[in-house]
């Protein structure tokens, strides 16, 4: 048993490493294939051929691509992600990431918590009220939520709650490192913008899973044994509906990261997403590489955690 568990852990880690390497390779070669040159961004359009050549030599950009990739992998394995080439010339990529990652993680976790809370309430209310007015309203909003892009929801939220009602700031974000209260307030609208489409799909899956499980035979058996409605809902219906619910949450995390890239821009949040966009425009290869790797590792880690939770929830998977 312990051996099987260990073997599972080793296999899983090896899988993560291979996927991370493959992901890094895809990003690396895709970026190099795109037109543009970090030397021009860093030195300006008027730079002389010699300065450009010197710049390229200094950052090993004159080496063959495969050698460059090998160098990057070798350094990354030692925890060295290099320095920024163009947008923050010479700054350690690690420092840039360490500065910004807490903001992105905060907004991401905030968004997931909001989406889960909203969908738990809305999905349960809709399922219990199947065919009624609450169900109709909840499913209609959910359908609308799925079809609305997050950046559009972001602007609507800014217009309504920041500019209109003035409850939240329209722009800027206070880091959770400085003030938790401030970050909860200033992060609410961006988190909600990311959460809305997720909450919509979570609500739909929870509603249908609850309805599906409410019609299982064991629910009728539990009733025949005299168990009450709240006991049955909690232990027989909701308990089993959580399995597909958690699975879908895990699947949505990758969209969540895509969402942060756009939303950080709209709300002016100093996060990994906006760093990545800046780096992409400046062809700042080391930063792009590091950001992509970070996102990739987050997705893989979340998948492992979700798998673990699902295994705990579903004895048939053990």
């Amino acid at each position: 048993m312990a051996f099987a568990l260990l073997r599972h852990a080793v296999m899983r880690s090896a899988g993560v490493m291979i996927l991370a390497l493959m992901g890094a390779a895809v990003v690396f070669f895709a970026m190099r294939a795109a037109p543009g040159d970090p030397a021009l961004t860093a030195l300006g359009e008027g730079a002389s051929t010699e300065t450009i050549a010197a710049f390229r030599a200094r950052w090993n950009l004159d080496e063959p691509l495969i050698v460059q990739f090998g160098l990057w992998v070798a350094n990354a394995l030692r925890g060295d992600f290099g320095q920024s080439l163009s947008i923050a010339s010479g700054t350690d990529v690690y420092t840039l990431l360490a500065d910004r990652l807490p903001n992105t993680l905060f907004i991401g976790v905030y968004a997931i918590i909001l989406a889960v809370l909203i969908s738990l309430v809305a999905g349960t209310a809709a399922a219990l009220n199947r065919g009624g007015i609450i169900d109709t309203v909840a499913t209609s909003i959910a359908a609308a939520g799925i079809s609305m892009p997050d950046f559009w929801i972001g602007y609507v939220l800014i217009y309504a709650f920041a500019l209109g009602l003035g409850w939240f700031p329209a722009y800027g974000f206070i880091s959770p490192v400085e003030s938790l209260g401030g970050s909860l307030l200033s992060g609410f609208l961006p988190a909600l913008a990311i959460a809305a489409p997720m909450a919509a799909s979570f609500t739909r899956i929870l509603r249908s899973a609850l309805i599906d499980n409410a019609h299982r035979d064991h629910v009728r058996v539990a009733r025949s044994l005299g168990h009450g409605p709240s006991f049955i809902f909690l232990h027989h219906v909701l308990r089993n509906a959580l399995i597909p619910f958690v699975t879908v949450i895990g699947l949505q995390v990758r969209y969540l990261l895509g969402g942060t890239v756009v939303i950080e821009r709209i709300f002016g949040i100093n996060g990994v997403g906006s760093l990545m966009i800046d780096a992409a425009f400046g062809r700042d290869y080391p930063i792009i590489q590091a950001c992509a790797l970070t996102f990739l590792l987050i997705v893989l880690l979340v998948n492992i955690v979700v798998d673990l939770i699902c295994t705990m929830l579903n004895p048939r998977m053990r």
Partner: protein, 326 residues
């Protein structure tokens, strides 16, 4: 005459509403006495399962149940509120279902199921069991249904046990609550022959031990012969013949019962051509006709002109057929 445990008079159950309303149980009447096993026999769609579910009020919301009389120990179940009905279920009226695997919550252990069921009915101000005792009681119940390693079984999840094993657990759980009436809805249909015998034997011994009244729903006459004191044969939502098991199996008064018997006998004999009841099974109307008339070998003009009423063949044996003099 003592009050029967369960008295059902003109039970009618329908689903849906308005034009799409369809009646499944079309006026069923019977008595079930304390400690008696009554077989409810019929083909799929005859309304036997719905009859059982109607008594326990376990039907979905779109079902509509009405009865001239539906009493448990003289108490009208129609007037019992939802809360009291919930209290009666399990403690007084219980049910064993057709699919043992689906009867259990896949996310919970066997022990959880039994302990929660016991806890629902025996712990509380009037209960004599403390929560800590429940596990021991549960293990004892499992031993009584011949489960050798009760602790291990209780720690298992439903998918780790066989259908026969799960049905044993369910029987242990249901009879462990000591209900006065158990409705068994084809409890052996999904099990293989050998296990079926064991489960029937188990139900019989538990029923005798607790002196429980059992309404045994089945489509299998052989099963009924082994288990039931009396049988009621259902056709298209009505009981067409009811009486002591021996008498009905030896001298069936209704052509449908006779057909069922002939089918069962031809199955037992090798080489013999299989007997079948002609025509399509399924729900047909009783309005101004006998619902079985289209398939009946003894059909006469009267059968399609009026609805047959119940006639007594002899004391305790009655039939709904014109071919018997009233």
């Amino acid at each position: 005459m003592p009050t029967p445990l369960l008295r059902v008079r003109d039970l009618r159950t329908s689903f849906g509403s308005g034009d799409r309303r369809s009646e499944v149980v079309k006026g069923v009447s019977f008595d079930l006495n304390k400690g008696e096993v009554l077989g409810l026999i019929g083909e799929s769609g005859s309304g036997k399962t719905v009859t059982g579910l109607s008594v326990l009020q376990l039907l979905p919301d779109n079902a509509h149940v009405e009865a001239a009389e539906l009493t448990y120990n003289g108490r009208s179940l129609a007037e019992v509120g939802a809360k009291d009905m919930q209290r009666l279920r399990g403690a007084d009226l219980a049910m064993i279902f057709q699919d043992p695997v689906g009867s259990f919550n896949p996310a919970k252990t066997i022990g959880w199921h039994i302990v929660k069921a016991l806890g629902r009915h025996s712990v509380g101000p009037s209960g004599d069991l403390k929560p800590g005792d429940l596990k021991a009681v549960a293990a004892e119940l499992l031993k009584q249904v011949n489960i050798r390693e009760p602790e291990r079984t209780m720690a298992s999840y439903p998918h780790q046990l066989s259908g026969g094993m799960l049905q044993r657990v369910l029987i242990a759980m249901v009879f462990g609550l000591n209900p006065k009436l158990v409705i068994a809805d084809e409890p052996t249909t999904n099990l293989d022959n050998l296990v079926e015998r064991q489960i029937l034997e188990l139900i019989r011994s538990q029923q005798r031990q607790h002196d429980t009244g059992v309404l045994f729903v089945t489509h299998d006459l052989t099963v009924a012969r082994h288990l039931c004191d009396r049988v009621a044969v259902m056709y298209s939502g009505r009981i067409v013949e009811i009486g002591p098991t021996e008498r009905i199996l030896e001298r069936p008064a209704h052509p449908y019962t006779a057909g069922l018997l002939a089918t069962a006998r031809s199955l037992e004999k090798r080489d013999a051509a299989l007997y079948e009841i002609k025509g399509e099974p399924g729900a047909t109307s009783w309005a101004k006709r006998c619902a079985f008339s289209a398939r009946c070998p003894q059909v006469t003009d009267r059968c399609t002109a009026a609805e047959p009423t119940e006639r007594t063949v002899e004391a305790g044996h009655s039939v709904r057929c014109f071919n018997h003099a009233a």
